[in-house]
């Protein structure tokens, strides 16, 4: 576990920093209390509609394609680290794996799944 000590130190520093900012602003920042302050500021126009908006399905498509290719990239790390010792057989196995996914990439490219405006 001690090998990870620097990492945990980093976590701790990050956490402290965030806490410090929050506490700092609430201590040091100017405080305006009053009804005016609570009003939503929207360039003079009354705010309308619900609190939530619905996102387009495009976001979902992009996100799931991202997940798929993210997982693909994950497999590249161990291969890259062991690239030399795996030799040609490793290269061939990785090419076999990738070629299937490259077809998938070309497919969604041609299908227009990567385009935003359509």
């Amino acid at each position: 576990m001690s090998a990870y000590a620097p990492m945990f130190l980093l976590f701790a520093v990050g956490l402290l920093l965030v806490l410090a900012f929050f506490v700092g602003t609430s201590l040091l920042g100017p405080k305006n209390k009053g009804a005016e302050h609570q009003l939503p500021f929207e360039c003079g126009s009354e705010s309308t509609g619900g609190r939530h908006i619905r996102l387009s399905v495009k976001f979902y498509l992009t996100a799931i394609l991202f997940v798929v290719f993210d997982i693909e990239a994950v497999f590249l790390y161990p291969w890259g680290v062991k690239f030399r010792s795996l030799g040609w057989s490793g290269l061939v196995s990785m090419l076999g794996f990738l070629s299937v996914l490259v077809v998938g990439l070309v497919y969604c490219w041609k299908k227009g799944a990567l385009e935003w405006e359509k």
Binding site: V100, V103, G104, V106, Y107, K110, K111
Partner: protein, 524 residues
């Protein structure tokens, strides 16, 4: 034999699927994806048959991909069955999708990739590849169910199927993890070895046995879900009804075939040891109970259906019950001969069910056309007189589903129940027979509507569609239904041989080499 040839069914499916995707993405004009998909399935099936005729894959080649992919005759049999179901379904899709304005090429890619998952599932000799195959197949089928996204029924069916399916898959994964923890192995063969020998063979620690039992139950739940056995059938009617009919055909035959194959491998091989497969402390009574429950519930609910597609969904559940009877027969109380007969009967039943059920859905597609799909019994009224050509295939498949000679369904049921009787499960066979009689009632109702009823005056009538693809699919299915119904010998023989190869140890027999060992001779 090279590894490439041994894996050729999978490779053909892969290249076919990827090729179709590229054709779909690149071609400017509509390309004939249905035909391409049909040819892919057919050639993959033929490669499996070729491997079979050459005497199966030699052990030395099998060992290269074992235990993840087991290329025994059992796998080849199921590969051929899956490809048959896929081929019929792709022809059905070729007729159905354009007719109902959902003609998108993704359907074929999904179907072939899902079939790859199904083949992997049937071939999986290890929980790792089993799970990958299961998920590949399931994801494809979920998407096919929800293919008609804007149709609320399609979306509802897909969502139910997806949520319950992922839950079942998670349970199965947990079962696999537990069994790995208890035996230290994920491979079917390794689990078997661990359970029959060493600490487990002379098992004295009840808590570890309990772990195995819990794992077994969890895995069983996952598989029972996939073959839609009661009480894990809740999703089936909605998913089958909501899905585009070719997808329903694909689901009800290919998914079931792959799940039956896995169930056989997991229960008969991995959990085939004395303790796990005894009547007093193992899985057989659970399977038998589930079989009875499945047959009764499905048949009674099917009686009350007014929608033919939904009736066929319940009929598919009922057939899962018959398959489970076969599962008990395939266990055969550990008696080799009885079990062999049971395995053969189960495999033959699966094969004939594939052509019959896919054909029945195809016939249902044929009876409707754009704007008016045939879904209720009323829609079928009088078709026998108005369109005898459309009614005749439907009648044939319905007769086969009911199990009336001279169709494949008759021999399927005959062998199955005979194997159950021989295995000492006369009571199970009797319940099965009574249920078949019950089933005959709602199957015959289709015939009554086809040939003896007239449509209500003024009701919108479904007119049969015209499509060469559908005719082709029905011709293939009908020919096979009659072939298995009149000359079942060859198929039964293959089923017996496939059943025998299940669980056989993959060993390379020492072949004396004639070649002088020059490498060592040259050394000083």
């Amino acid at each position: 034999m090279s590894l490439w040839f041994a894996l050729s069914p999978l490779i053909v499916l892969t290249f076919g699927g990827l090729g179709l995707m590229m054709a779909d993405a690149f071609s400017k004009t509509r390309s004939d994806l249905a035909l391409g998909s049909f040819l892919t399935f057919t050639s993959a099936g033929l490669f499996a048959l070729a491997l079979w005729i050459m005497g199966g894959v030699p052990a030395a080649v099998m060992l290269k991909v074992a235990p993840y992919i087991v290329l025994d005759k059992f796998t080849l049999f199921f590969t051929a069955t899956i490809c048959l179901g896929g081929a019929i379904s792709s022809l059905l899709a070729g007729g159905y999708l354009p007719e109902h304005d959902i003609d998108r090429g993704e359907f074929y890619a999904l179907m072939i990739l899902a079939a790859i998952g199904a083949v992997l599932l049937a071939a999986a000799g290890d929980f790792l590849s089993l799970f990958i195959g299961l998920e590949t197949m399931s994801l494809g089928v979920y998407c096919m169910t929800g293919f008609r996204r804007t149709n609320p029924r399609s979306a509802e069916g897909a969502l139910k199927y997806f949520l319950l399916g992922s839950f079942a898959a998670a349970l199965m994964l947990y079962g696999g993890a537990l069994i790995y923890g208890a035996t230290g192995s994920t491979s079917i063969e390794g689990i078997r070895t661990a359970l029959t020998s060493g600490e487990f063979g002379t098992l004295r620690d009840p808590s570890r046995l309990a772990t195995v039992v819990i794992a077994m139950v969890l895995v069983l739940v996952g598989l029972a879900f996939k073959i839609s056995a009661v009480p894990f059938h809740m999703w089936t009617p909605d998913a089958y009804q909501g899905a585009p009919t070719p997808a329903t055909a694909f689901m009800s035959v290919v998914v079931k075939a792959a799940a039956v194959a896995t169930m056989m491998r997991v229960l008969l091989v991995a959990f085939g040891d004395k303790a796990s497969s005894s009547w007093s402390s193992g899985w057989p009574p659970v399977i038998a109970g589930m079989a009875v429950l499945t047959m009764l519930v499905a048949n009674f609910i099917a009686l009350r259906q007014e929608n033919v597609k939904r009736m066929l969904a319940y009929s598919s559940i009922a057939h899962a019950g018959y398959l489970l009877v076969g599962m008990v027969a395939a266990w055969g109380q550990g008696n080799e001969i009885v079990a062999g007969e049971g395995r053969a009967a189960l495999l033959f039943y699966m094969l004939q069910y594939t052509v019959t059920q896919a054909g029945a859905f195809g016939a249902l597609i044929l009876c409707g056309s754009k704007g008016k799909e045939a879904v209720t019994y009323e829609d079928l009224a009088g078709l026998g007189r108005r369109h005898p050509g459309a009614a005749l295939p439907f009648a044939l498949f319905i007769i086969s589903l009911a199990g009336v000679p001279p169709t494949a369904g008759f021999f399927g049921k005959l062998y199955l129940f005979r194997a159950a009787v021989d295995g000492g499960f006369t009571w199970l066979a009797i319940i099965g027979l009574l249920n078949s009689a019950l089933g005959a009632y709602y199957y015959l109702r289709v015939l009554v509507f086809l040939y003896m009823k007239e449509p209500a005056p003024g009701a919108a009538q479904a007119t049969p569609m015209k499509s060469g693809y559908i005719y082709g699919a029905l011709a293939i299915a009908a020919a096979l239904v009659l072939y298995f119904g009149i000359l079942p010998g060859k198929a039964l023989e293959m089923a017996a041989s496939a059943g025998k190869s299940l669980g056989a140890k993959i060993e390379v027999r020492e072949v004396p080499t004639k070649m002088p060992d020059t490498a060592t001779a040259a050394l000083p």
